[in-house]
Symmetry: C2
Subunit: 257 residues, 2 copies
Amino acid sequence: MIEVKIGNGMAVTDTPVAHIECFDCPIRHRAVCARCETDELEALEAIKYYRTFDAGQTVIWSGDRMDFVGSVMEGIATLSQTMEDGRTQMVGLLLPSDFVGRPGRESAAYDVTATTQLTMCCFRRKPFEELMIRTPHIGQRLLEMTLDELDAAREWMLLLGRKTAREKIASLLAIIARRDATLKLGPTRGRIVFDLPLTREAMADYLGLTLETVSRQISALKRDGVIVLEGKRHVTVPDFDRLLGETGDDSDGGMPA
Amino acid sequence: MIEVKIGNGMAVTDTPVAHIECFDCPIRHRAVCARCETDELEALEAIKYYRTFDAGQTVIWSGDRMDFVGSVMEGIATLSQTMEDGRTQMVGLLLPSDFVGRPGRESAAYDVTATTQLTMCCFRRKPFEELMIRTPHIGQRLLEMTLDELDAAREWMLLLGRKTAREKIASLLAIIARRDATLKLGPTRGRIVFDLPLTREAMADYLGLTLETVSRQISALKRDGVIVLEGKRHVTVPDFDRLLGETGDDSDGGMPA
DNA sequence: CGCAAGCTTGAGTATTATCAAACGAAGTGG
DNA sequence: CCACTTCGTTTGATAATACTCAAGCTTGCG
């Protein structure tokens, strides 16, 4: 273990990771480098390094100088904003292959936190920006990913502005369930089983609720048989369509048209 | 006046507009074409056309086939989503130079509505997409604009999830005031005067409130001297810092860091 | 003039937040 | 091994914010 100082002086334990060749990278076909040719991958290879974080650790604080951009390799991170008085709102959930940072921006705009064990593939920012100018494939893919994120953010605006607490919880469970099923190549209908990667408090920050309301609504969904819980985190959805019916979205699940 | 049929059969009055040369375009330096060279502008010129809409008219409905993308030239439009039971949430406010549509997407993802008299500069979608491949300047600018929109969306998520009704109204007024001041090259401190481009209902849809709550909070801000109203739409802010103090943001106005 | 649209205000209600207490699991130190 | 703590969570009682339903007010227009 190596002690590393980041921006505001907070000490973070940063474990060295075996270097993976881009060619063998598990997120290669979905990340910002998805469209890169072999020579372009080599250029990225030269400016990349890995960092890992434990669950709960902060990757970077809003306002801190940010000398890298990068991709989530493994694990889950969150983007959040905090008001002066402490109210916080999560504004992004970062999954493997998602991109962190904005080329051209000096400092972080949001707090980035690992909610599980997290591995990131980081690129030094300046060289990455120079590479982007020479390599349209990177910018093209980043545009595509950013447009997708914008759609997701707008979907989330509907949830935050107009859904009830129960619908919010159901929507979050549906999103996690669907993603988990896709990842494991399982079905996205019928019985689905997964683990919640978020605490009740993180869910509350994501949904614009208090953690008590989250807890109560989860209990209510459990009582009504929409979900079955083993422990606090292990969820079984006996009938995914039933869950979708609780989200308030139309039956296709509320994907942007 | 020409009668034009759009996607779902709704008739829209569509006024022909004198063709403006890109070179003379008032939004040229801020729109998606901002980085284009002379020859690139000529290529855009060849595939562009203007359309105008009256206040209240729908530009396109979510799910409708969309054969164009384009920029707002003049006026204001909104992007919104509607749930089955009629609850609606505005997810974007489109101002002059803002871009509408997503290259590569066949159908509209949101309802687009003109809230004032609106002029749009439209590009036929297919030729635009082909042009984008040959012209990195367009994609680069679109990436920049999309990243800005994503930041704005995330700022709005904080508002929707965590701010009180009063803070929401104050935030909206501050955003409109600031923009108006910037546009008119006025001060962004002290006394600011502007017109609201939105009805109370549109404000409610933007803020995730009911129109009654919007009305009450505007009355409250008026009673407390934070704003002065002449009629329903003409607003005077005697002390912009005072208004900012009501938004819940830190004093810099809550711009993303 | 009378109507419609947009807006304001009031009364009562409901949903969610707040404050408070207590539980279970995991980890620590005596 | 067993208190003892801590963290995440659940649940209850109460309060507050915003919603719903309803009435009535301006303003502009046919």
